[in-house]
Amino acid sequence: MAILVVAEHDNSSLKPGTLNAVSAAQQIGGDVNVLVAGSDSRAVVEAAAQLTGVVKVIHADNACYEHQLAESVAPLVAEFGKNHTHVLAAATTTGKNLLPRVAALLDVAQISDIVEIKSEDTFVRPIYAGNALATVQSSDSIKVLTVRTTAFADAVIGGEAIIEDTDFGVEQGSTKFLGETLSVSARPELTSASIIISGGRGMQDGENFVLLEKVADKLGAAIGASRAAVDAGFVPNDYQVGQTGKIVAPDLYVAVGISGAIQHLAGMKDSKVIAAINKDEEAPIFQVADYGLVADLFKALPELEELLTD
C-alpha cells in the first residue's frame, strides 16, 4: 500500500504546496505516489518525478482537467485513492475545494489542515482559529488529509519516479469554467515568501499601500493585509492573512497598522520573527511581536525605506 499526493499546478509548473504535501506523506511513511490531473501538463509530471521519495507519478492528461475543477478531478482521485492508505493535498483553496469531495466519494472522513503527524492514523490540527490544537485519530480505511503547508518542509529534488499514464477522464457538463482573474505581481507569493510586510486598517486607504510597497521592494518581501484592510476595500482579498485568508510562516513578518485580532494572529503567529509598527501601544499585536515600535506608520515607513537603502 502507498500514499497518494494530489499535485497542485497550473499545467506548466508544480505549485510549492505540493512539496509540503509530499514531505508530509514521507513522514507518514511508505511509498509516495503523486497524481497529476491536467491538460497538456507533461512538465508538471516531470517536476513531480524528480522529488525525493516519490515512487510513481500517475498522469491523467485530459482536457476535462484543464481548470482542475473538483467535479472532474474528485472522481479520478477517488478511483486511484482506493488503492492507497492515505490521500493528501496541500490545504490551499484548490486542495480545500477538492479533498472533501474526494472523501465523500470514498465515504470516509476528511481531516483538514494537519500541522503534525503523530502516527499513521493520528494527526494534530488547529481549531478555533488556532486557539487550540486537536489530536484526532481516524479509524477509516483511507485517511484523506489536507496539509498546512507552513508546518512541513519542502520535499527536495533528487528522485527519479516512474511515470504511469491513465486515460481515466470524467466529462461533466454541469459546471462550466468561465474565467479566472489572477493578480499579477513581480513580488514573491505570500505563502512562500521569506519576508512579508502587511498593512491593516491603520493604513487608512488603499493608496497608502504604496508606502508598504516601497519597503517591500527594498526587502524583496511579499505584501499582505489584515481582514480589516480587505473589508475596507484597501486591497484585494487574496492579500488577506488570517483564519479565513492565507496562513503564512515567513522568516520575518512585519505588521504595520494592524491591531492583531485573533483571526489575524491565526494566520501569522508561526512566523519566525514578528515586528510590529502601531501607534497604539496597547494593540494586541505587541503581545506576539518580537520587536515592537510604537510610532505613526506614516512617518515610520518612509524612514524604514530610507534606512534600508543604505
Binding site: A104, L105, Q110, A134, D140, R227, V288, L304
Partner: protein, 249 residues
C-alpha cells in the same frame, strides 16, 4: 426556486475561547453563542435572492442539540420561511452533516443550497464539498458573488491569487466567503413574526442517516504561547535589531 441554508450554532466570533485545563475540549460555559458568521452570510444571500424575485422559499436547517432552535429563529427573523432542526448530541462529523442535508434536499426538492464555507469553531471547511459529492451536484465554494441566470447560478470564487468564475447548473451547492455580502440585522417586528414561523424537529434516523463517527479526538491543548518581545525606540533601532540580532534582513 427553493433554497436551503445551513445555520450552525457556534461560539460568538468576539469571544476569546480557552482550552479546558483537563484537555477535553474548549471552555464554553456561559460563552455567548451565535450563528456562525459564514452561515449568516448564506442566510443573507438567500434572502437577497428571494427579494430579487428569483427564490420562493428559504428553509433554514441546523444540525445539533435543541438549543440550536435559537439560531434557526434568528435565521427566520432575518427572512427565512421555515426551519428544520435535526437533533443530535455533541459534535457531528462533516460527512454525517452532509448526509443529513442530502436526505433533506431529496425530501424537499431543493434547487440551491447555500452554506458557510467553514464554521469558526471546528475550522473544517468540508460540508458543502461533501454534500456536492454525495448528490453529484456542481459546487461553487468560497463564493464572493452568486447570481441566478436562466436556471443556472454564476459563482465567482475566492482562490489563491485571485478569483475564478464558474457557471453551475441547478441544483447546485454554493459556499460563502466573507466578501459575498454584508448581513443585515433582524428588526424587532421580524423577530416577533419569526416566533410564529414553523420549525420541524426531526432525528437523523427519521432521514435514515447513520451519524456514527470514525474520528476520535484524543485531546485538545493550547498552542505554545508566543511571548511579547522588546519595544524598540526608533526605526533605526528596529532595522538594527532585524539586521544584527534576528539576522532576518
Amino acid at each position: 426556486m427553493k433554497i436551503l441554508v445551513g445555520v450552525k450554532r457556534v461560539v460568538d466570533a468576539n469571544v476569546k475561547v480557552r482550552v479546558k485545563s483537563d484537555g477535553t475540549g474548549m471552555d464554553l460555559a456561559n460563552a455567548k453563542m451565535a450563528i456562525n458568521p459564514f452561515c449568516e452570510i448564506a442566510v443573507e444571500e438567500a434572502i437577497r435572492m428571494k427579494e430579487a424575485g428569483v427564490a420562493d422559499e428559504i428553509i433554514a436547517v441546523s444540525v445539533g442539540p435543541q438549543v440550536c432552535q435559537e439560531q434557526i429563529r434568528t435565521a427566520l427573523a432575518l427572512g427565512s420561511d421555515r426551519g428544520i432542526l435535526v437533533e443530535t448530541e455533541g459534535q457531528t462529523d462533516p460527512l454525517a452533516v452532509a448526509k443529513i442535508f442530502k436526505a433533506i434536499i431529496e425530501k424537499e426538492e431543493i434547487d440551491l443550497v447555500i452554506l458557510g464555507k467553514l464554521s469558526i469553531d471546528t475550522d473544517n471547511n468540508q460540508v458543502g464539498q461533501m454534500l456536492a459529492a454525495l448528490c453529484n451536484y456542481p459546487q461553487g465554494t468560497f463564493a464572493c458573488s452568486a447570481e441566478i441566470k436562466e436556471g443556472k447560478v454564476e459563482v465567482s470564487r475566492e482562490i489563491d491569487g485571485g478569483e475564478q468564475t464558474v457557471l453551475l447548473d441547478l441544483p447546485a451547492i454554493v459556499t460563502t466567503d466573507l466578501r459575498l455580502n454584508e448581513p443585515r440585522y433582524a428588526s424587532l417586528p421580524n423577530i416577533m413574526k419569526a416566533k410564529k414561523k414553523p420549525i420541524d424537529i426531526i432525528q437523523p434516523s427519521d432521514l435514515g442517516v447513520d451519524i456514527s463517527s470514525n474520528l476520535k479526538t484524543l485531546g485538545i491543548e493550547a498552542p505554545a504561547e508566543r511571548s511579547a518581545g522588546v519595544k524598540v525606540e526608533s526605526v533605526a533601532e528596529l532595522v538594527d535589531k532585524l539586521r544584527n540580532e534576528a539576522k532576518v534582513i
